[in-house]
């Protein structure tokens, strides 16, 4: 399908510089793509830390699980405490495992770009190492024991005990892997351009939130007895809001961290899928289009817009959610301040309005008003006019010649 279609007009070639193309090798180093990937990674880490600090730390975190296992086996786990974060307090327990998860995810992404032969070798090497670690010591001890005693026998207890260390080590690593699954898969997805991995990361996070929500449900939580107590439950009732905009206090710190989790999930999803979508498009372009400056220019436009919209729209989404959550209190304040009647006073003191139903209904009302605004305020034209005015000021006098 694709042959040469030379350079388009307004482009002259001189000097040693090579023109920019849409080849993956070049595109992957483009600043917009890297920025999107960095944003996705930061969002992933932020989301993970936010979830962990809200729901896991001090409740069901891995160090507590390791402690329980150590109590059960009556011995220390072979994996070092410095690695697992045992002995540290709060969120810092997750710092080293997080770095490990990032490194592992990055390694997996790097592996995804190697040739199939190298990938196969690495996987084979991993499996062999695993087998050697698992049963190497046992085999060595057992076979040498049989050799020295010239006896054909099953391995004895002493020899079998050599399996303990590798099994516990693998168990510890598996637990860590399970806890870090969203990070590992997320990083692999972002940098290894894998939709499936991104979906795994998001899916696992949502699954965790879902399971946690079920376990935190009072009816089920009560059935869990002592175990239920360790599940951190965030109630629907909150204290006075402390975070807001334009002097209006809208949400509490707890609510804000929950909003952050939701927004960061979306930032991670949109940025990582965006990168994959654009690179996929570029990959499918015929050779001649990849070299066409017009396609390169439009790809720049599209990527710049994505970056702007990532900050703009997702930021606005966060603000809109905050305002929606605090809208009931705003409404109550307005009613109280504006009318001053006895009825208004009664309404403002009505507890139903500040409970779940009141909160959700007022939030839905706010979002409906926001949705209707598009019919009254021509946002696109306003932005277009602002842009046109800016562009007019920056218009070059002569015709632009791109010198490559």
């Amino acid at each position: 399908m694709a042959d040469e279609v030379g350079l388009q007009g307004d482009v002259t070639i001189s000097g040693e510089l090579r023109p920019r193309t849409l080849h993956l090798k070049m595109l992957r180093k483009q600043w917009q793509i890297i920025t999107l990937q960095v944003i996705a990674t930061v969002a992933l880490i932020g989301m993970y830390l936010e979830i962990v600090s809200t729901y896991v730390v001090g409740s069901i975190d891995h160090t507590m699980l390791f402690d329980t296992i150590e109590v059960l086996i009556g011995d220390q786990l072979p994996i070092g405490d410095w690695l697992t974060g045992e002995g540290r307090n709060g969120i810092s327990r997750f710092f080293i495992p997080l770095v490990l998860g990032l490194a592992l995810g990055g390694g997996m992404a790097l592996l995804a770009f190697q040739t199939p032969a190298i990938q196969q070798r690495v996987k084979l090497g991993f499996i062999i190492t695993l087998i050697v670690v698992l049963i190497g010591q046992l085999l060595l001890k057992w076979l040498t024991g049989m050799l020295f005693s010239l006896d054909l026998r099953l391995p004895n207890t002493n020899e079998l005990s050599t399996l303990e260390w590798p099994l516990l080590m693998i168990l510890s690593l598996m637990i860590l892997f399970l806890y870090l699954l969203p990070v590992i898969m997320g990083v692999r997805g972002i940098w290894g351009l894998s939709r499936r991995s991104v979906a795994w990361a998001i899916g696992f996070t949502l699954l965790f939130l879902g399971i946690h929500a079920i376990l935190a449900f009072p009816l089920i939580n009560g059935q869990l007895g002592n175990y239920g107590n360790s599940v951190s439950v965030i109630g629907a009732q909150f204290s006075e809001p402390t975070i807001g905009i334009f002097g209006l206090m809208l949400v509490t710190t707890e609510q804000f961290s929950l909003i952050m989790i939701a927004i960061l999930i979306m930032v991670f999803q949109e940025s990582s899928y965006g990168v994959i979508r654009y690179l996929e498009y570029a990959y499918r372009l015929p050779e001649s289009c990849k070299r066409d400056p017009e396609y390169v220019r439009q790809m720049d436009n599209v990527l710049n817009t994505h970056l702007k919209h990532t900050f703009g729209f997702l930021g606005l989404t966060g603000i809109a959610t905050m305002v929606a959550l605090g809208f009931h209190s705003v409404l109550l304040d307005i009613v109280k301040d504006s009318t001053g009647s006895q009825w208004a006073g009664q309404i403002s003191e009505s507890i139903e309005l500040s409970l779940t139903y009141g909160l959700v209904i007022s939030a839905a009302m706010f979002l409906s008003i926001m949705a209707l605004l598009r019919f009254f305020v021509p946002w696109e034209r306003i932005w277009g006019l602002i842009y046109a005015r800016r562009a007019q000021e920056a218009v070059p006098q002569g015709k632009e010649i791109v010198d490559i």
Partner: protein, 417 residues
Amino acid sequence: MWTRKASFTFTGGIALILIGMMIANLQMMILGLSFIAFIVVNSWISGHGDVEVQRTLSADNLYKGDDLYVELLVTNRSNRNTQLLEVYDNIPHEMKLRSGLNQMRLNLRPGESARIRYVLRCPLRGHYSIGPVSLRSRNTFNLSVDEMLVDHHSDIVIFPQIKEVEEAFLRSRTAKMYTGATTLRIPGQGSEFYSLREYVPGDPFKNINWKAYARTGELMVNEKCRDAVTDLYLLLDSRDIARIGTVLKNPLEMGTVSAASLAAFFLKRRDSVALAIFDDTLSYLPPDTGDKQYFKILSALAGVSPKGAMPLQAVTNSLSGRFSRGSPVFIISSCEGDGTVPAAVRDLVGRGHEVTVLSPSSIDFERLVSRIPRMSYEVLKLERQNRLTTLAGSGAMVIDWMPDMDLSQALMQVRGY
């Protein structure tokens, strides 16, 4: 219009809010609210600005097999960004992309324009139209899609391919091929004096002007004016049966190529050429000469499609009154499924026309698409041979044109009959 992603996000948001309310889980409610807020905020920007498209073609008329260079200029005429816009130029399915791509994802700022350039190969003759231009604007996060068509068309005619026809193959009978009514002021074989020129080895001795030789001392030869062939009639069989074979190789395609090539050859010699195409109706282009006639013939041949089953005798009967006396007639037909061909040819020969039947072998075309048992093939081939021999016996020159045979090579067979 919402995309599937937007619908899922919205439904998921509502579901999360409801479930969150049921189990008193604020995280679920907030997640649901965020999803809805995401949809709401993104709905502020929808559709795209006014986009103007302008298509430039490298040519309006092309020959079959040629490349067409297309440039589509997309300009944002509005005061807003176009958002993520997918521009797709609809091309006829008969044309193949040879280079470049007929689509682009772009985001044009106010007043900005982008050029999409691609090259099409035109493997089939015909009248085609490129366009309309499909526009699909997407939200950055793929939450809304709007599609529209810009009704911008560019018409193009793909003429049949012109094959090289060598003169020698067509004037083997007599030096003066056909009787002419007008004299052309160009050197060639004829009767009237044109000019004197120096003798070059190979010139016949009978053309030497001895008086001039005596006068100048150098051998000089007389050059004559070429006699023009007045009218040449091409009868093209475009009946339904002519579609036998593949899309690219069938009696009709070969017929159009030969008709175009013969017309080109004779018109170049300043002869007058007439064209009659018979399918379910009879289309007739009276004899004329020059580039205009050439264009008319090619245009007519470009639009030919197989249909109907008009017998050849009906054609010759209708046109016999229009044929100039003694003018040559080319019948381009597979001669299949028409029992009137021998009678029609006999009639034409009887009227003094020099008839040449150029017959693409439809059995061999049939063989390209379906497996014919050997015995059946042999029988069919024999039947065809008999039919052609009958035509040759009627006084026509018959050319059996095989699918893999070049036109010049086929015309060489004229000598064989």
